[in-house]
């Protein structure tokens, strides 16, 4: 087993274990920390796929901004420890159907889901360099970039409107 496979397995295990930590942790702060670890693991998997820019952006945007925002909100709301997560509140039919669906999906995926694995060494690592991204973003995907800019603006205005206190306007003033 060489070093890349070892690193891949390590990051994969880190990702899955800390994702389980997000789900099973009773404390919201611990769950946010597990989310951080999970994102680090996914960034490692991105690096293993030669997507260096995306790994960097994932750490910067998700781990840097979003998890910090989650922590701020947890601190702000002073969220108490959750009740122990349990399956008892789900209706029995939902549990059975969900379990069977997951089982069928996993079984078919493992038994028959052999995708043709192409010879990767022959393929170009398109996401490894920065230049193709810039080229694509400013030619093919120029309109989506503009729309995303507007989306961010709209989200910013929406957050400002949502988070201010509504004071009823007094009559005659």
């Amino acid at each position: 087993m060489n070093l890349p496979s070892l690193l891949f397995s390590g990051f994969l295990i880190l990702t899955l274990v800390s994702a389980l930590g997000v789900v099973l942790n009773r404390n919201a702060v611990n769950a946010a920390m597990c989310l951080l670890l999970c994102l680090v693991g996914v960034a490692g998997l991105f690096v293993a796929l030669d997507a260096y820019l995306l790994a960097f952006l994932l750490l910067l945007v998700y781990a840097g901004a979003i998890v910090a925002l989650f922590l701020f909100i947890v601190m702000l709301l002073d969220a108490r420890g959750d009740a122990r997560p349990s399956l008892h509140r789900l209706p029995l039919a939902a549990r059975v159907v969900a379990g069977l669906l997951v089982l069928a999906g996993v079984a078919s995926f493992l038994l028959r889901g052999r995708l043709p694995s192409p010879e990767v060494a022959a393929l170009p690592a398109a996401g490894a360099a920065l230049k193709p991204y810039a080229y694509q973003l400013f030619t093919t995907y120029l309109l989506p970039v503009q729309i995303l800019g507007f989306l961010l603006l709209i989200a910013m205005i929406g957050v400002i409107v949502l988070s201010r206190k509504f004071v009823p306007i007094e009559e005659g003033s």
Partner: protein, 102 residues
């Protein structure tokens, strides 16, 4: 070099998505449910990057770029909604937020 096959990446992505879905189903704290939604989103981006790499194209990566941006906007708006809800109801537990029921 790529240390794993496409199949491995897809299994990892599906496992991550399933864990996130499990969290959405069994957790009662709205904030944690929201974190689990983010997990599901990240799982989908992992599948996109894997497909893109194993096809030798860039389109999936650019799409993930857009998904990251939309996720940032989504988290900001969602957390603002949760804060507004907390101001109004003094709780973030899902069971208490049932005024649209019946």
């Amino acid at each position: 070099m790529i240390p794993a096959s496409l199949h491995t990446y897809l299994v990892a992505s599906v496992a991550l998505f399933a864990i996130g879905l499990l969290g959405v189903l069994i957790r009662r704290n709205t904030l944690v449910v929201f974190m689990c939604l983010e997990l599901m989103l990240v799982a989908s981006t992992l599948a996109l990057v894997a497909f893109s790499r194993f096809n030798g194209t860039l389109d999936g990566n650019v799409f993930v770029f857009f998904i990251l941006t939309v996720a940032a906007a989504e988290v900001a708006v969602g957390l603002a909604l949760i804060v507004a809800l907390f101001r109004r109801r003094q709780t973030v537990q899902i069971d208490a937020l049932n005024s649209l029921k019946n």
